[in-house]
């Protein structure tokens, strides 16, 4: 009866919101068939298809039905409505920042017992930093597929063309500004300051840097500067951008556009996003996670590589990781576990690592030639592994998706519109406190 009511309610909301909703197909198909819900760019989805095909081949008779969501929001919508309708996918892949809302609602099946009995993968095989991110109230809810961190993708051809030194380990925030300024150029190759131009000012053809104005891009610089973004990592109640170290890092970040003009304007980003701009050779550096590698491997026109994040003296990175979670209401938990075990085990990790999509969470595979193959860009893939000891993570609070949405909107206006720093800090604090108060912690 409850699921009938839930299903009807889902229909009503879907109709009132958008005139229709979609839920992933039927329930578990029994036997060894597994439904896997994922999202990503076409190249990323191709990587998951490769993994699913390899699993089906290795486990004769098993089937994996990939349910492809268009983006993270779509995945969450499909997941919640299908759980409500009593027909959830068996496995879903979700970032640690967003699984908290399902964990808090007891919708994920813990895997401790199965992991303990597994002969394919042992907890010690995986990076502890990332397995911990998926522990909720003492239970291992999901198993990580990857352990990426933020890195600086850069266009080596542009660096060589303009005689600018390539970034290397230990470079600082000031080095980043100097490098980005030296690479912000007009079509004639002249250095230009890309601040808001008046009519007739030279147009920027290549920007030095691309970075999303989001909390997960700002956080590592706050940590590197010795500051904290939250008052309490385990039970946060507010952001602490009003502390001197955090404030300085935030101010420096916001200055990238208005003061230095090294990042594209909001109009330019809307016209062409940073990833496309980089792939088209119109961006010298891009701050991103490993996720973009599969797309960038299609680049033919120039040479590119990755470098570590610049620092304020202390190396700090931010964890980017997705994990396979088995839904509590899955009707094929054993089959689902078999797939998860394969995907996080050495074989699955080799296959997914080989596609370039992710930094394997399996320690041995991440250090193997599969991932570090110097013939496939980025040549300096070791950067991702070197960053692992210094990565930190944001809290897995159930309201984190709302907190990110609100904060990212404020940061976007700060970067592109130049909102006063005091107002930015006040707005972030005022608008997120109620969300922290409503959230449930691990």
């Amino acid at each position: 009866m409850r699921s009938l009511v839930a299903a009807l309610a889902a229909v009503t909301l879907a109709v009132s919101a958008c005139g229709g909703g979609t839920a992933p197909g039927g329930a578990g198909e029994g036997g060894r068939s597994v439904q896997l819900l994922v999202f990503g760019a076409p190249e990323e989805l191709a990587a998951y298809r490769t993994l699913a095909a390899a699993y089906e081949k290795s486990a004769g008779g098993a089937r994996v039905r990939l349910i492809e969501a268009s983006d993270r929001e779509d995945l969450i919508a499909r997941l919640s409505t299908s759980i409500a309708g009593g027909a959830p996918p068996d496995v879903f892949l979700l970032n640690y920042r967003f699984y908290g809302q399902f964990a808090a609602k007891n919708a994920i099946e813990p895997v401790d017992a199965r992991l303990g009995a597994s002969k394919v993968v042992r907890p010690a095989d995986l990076y502890p930093t990332v397995t911990e991110a998926f522990r909720w109230r003492g239970q291992q809810l999901c198993l990580p597929s990857n352990v990426s961190s933020l890195a600086v993708y850069y266009n080596r051809t542009l660096f060589n063309k303009y005689g600018v030194a390539e970034p290397k380990a230990g470079w600082t925030w000031n080095d980043l500004i100097a490098t980005a300024s030296a690479l912000t150029r007009t079509a004639d190759g002249a250095v230009v300051k890309g601040t808001e131009s008046e009519a007739g000012a030279p147009r920027v053809a290549v920007y030095g840097l691309g970075v999303e104005p989001t909390i997960i891009r700002v956080a590592p610089f706050v940590w590197s500067n010795g500051g904290e973004i939250l008052d309490n990592q385990q039970r946060p109640t507010r952001f602490t951008f009003d502390s001197p170290k955090a404030r300085q890092a935030l101010r420096d970040f916001i200055d990238l556009r208005i003061a230095y003009g090294v990042v594209p304007t909001d109009e330019e980003v809307e016209a062409e996003d940073d990833e496309s701009r980089f792939a088209n050779g119109r961006l010298a550096m891009l701050l991103s996670s490993r996720r973009v590698t599969t797309t960038f491997r299609q680049i033919k026109g120039f040479d590119w590589d990755v470098a570590p994040l610049p620092t304020y003296g202390k190396a700090a990175g931010i964890l980017h990781s997705d994990a396979y979670c088995i839904t509590r209401a899955s009707r094929a938990k054993d089959a689902a576990w078999k797939f998860v075990e394969y995907a996080v085990g050495p074989e699955g990790q080799r296959i997914l690592g080989g596609t370039g999509r992710s930094v394997p969470s399996h320690i041995a595979v991440s250090r193997s030639r599969t991932f570090l193959d110097p013939t496939k860009p980025p040549r300096n893939a070791q950067v991702f592994l070197d960053a692992i000891p210094t990565v930190r993570r944001v809290p897995t609070i159930s309201t984190w998706p709302e907190i990110e949405d609100v904060t990212d909107g404020i940061l976007e206006n700060a970067l592109y519109r130049g909102d006063p720093l005091d107002q930015v800090i006040r707005d972030i604090d005022d608008k997120t406190r109620p969300l922290f108060a409503r959230g449930q912690n691990p």
Binding site: V11, T12, Q101, E267, E270, A271
Partner: protein, 301 residues
């Protein structure tokens, strides 16, 4: 089988659909609006808390304001354009068939594809709309020396963009008004011609009063739809922005809270507010239409 039973039998499929897909879900939504419910755990009765929280929520207030502005601007404009096209294209003339097809065509394009098309059209730098507006101007400015609208980054321009998008999906209204105009008796126009009535007089005293019942009906229908038609454009083209809530409409607010933040009870409360507003808007228009009909001595609707 008697006539009454036959009628009931014919109505049955509709009644079953109406009950199962509209009335029961409406009842459930109404109940959910008074509960804290995430669709995974059991609902918890919280009385009016969702409604209290809604009116203290900046995002909801912005969504409410945006939805009302959209309804107030887009609905009359859509109706006016469809009426203009219907009056222009009701006669047989060269290429009138092609023109009618062009007027209807955007309505049959799938919503997501339509949104993606406009995303390209509104591209601030490379999109044809701003390229056209820049024609004749210097340094990226329009011919009047102003910067072209920032469709995707300025809140006001983004709202205008969503309204502009809605003005091309009027095919259904156009077809109804075209059929209505064609069904008007020719004798009254002949009489008006004998009386030497001007075009404006004919429109004001003949065409408009005769088409008024249909126009009134379309006005009511479009107002009801206006709370949902902004959903896909806002999701696909502007993603509810520019920040914080430039083009967040009630439908998008409901979607985000229900399906992204798993706050189904809260979203249900917003849905109830949306329904109440729709009823109020329709009641107001119904009242005005009845007054109009009484004023012109027409039979009550």
């Amino acid at each position: 089988m008697n006539e009454r039973r036959q009628l009931l039998l014919m109505l049955a499929p509709y009644l079953i659909g109406l009950t199962g897909l509209v009335l029961v879900p409406f009842g459930v939504t109404l109940l959910m609006a008074f509960a804290d419910y995430d669709m995974i755990r059991a609902p918890r009765w919280i009385g009016l808390d969702n409604f209290t929280a809604l009116f203290g929520d900046e995002a909801f207030r912005a969504a409410l304001r945006n939805s009302l502005i959209f309804a107030a601007v887009a609905v009359p404009l859509r109706l006016l354009i469809a009426l203009g096209l219907a009056l222009l294209l009701h006669r047989r003339a060269g290429a009138v068939g092609a023109a009618r097809t062009a007027a209807v065509l955007p309505t049959v394009v799938p919503e997501i594809a339509y949104g993606l098309l406009w995303l390209w059209l509104f591209n601030p730098l490379y999109g044809p709309v701003n390229q056209l507006l820049r024609a004749g101007g210097d340094n990226g400015l329009t011919v009047f020396g102003r910067t072209p609208p920032q469709w995707l980054t300025d809140p006001g321009d983004a709202q205008a963009a969503i309204i502009v998008m809605s003005l091309f999906t009027i095919g259904e209204i156009f077809v109804i008004l075209l059929a209505t105009r064609q069904a008007l008796p020719g004798e009254v126009y002949e009489l008006a011609a004998i009386e030497d009535a001007t075009g404006w007089d004919v429109f004001r005293r003949v065409t408009l009063p005769l088409m008024a019942p249909v126009l009134g009906l379309l006005l009511l229908r479009d107002t009801i739809l206006s709370f949902t038609v902004s959903f896909v454009p806002a999701l696909v083209v502007t993603d509810g922005g520019p920040p914080p809530y430039g083009t967040t409409y009630l439908s998008l607010f409901v979607y985000r809270n229900a399906f992204e933040y798993l706050r189904y009870g809260y979203a249900a409360a917003a849905t109830v507010v949306m329904l109440v507003l729709t009823v109020l808007a329709v009641a107001l228009q119904w009242h005005l239409i009845r007054r109009y009909r009484r004023q012109y001595g027409l039979a009550p609707g």
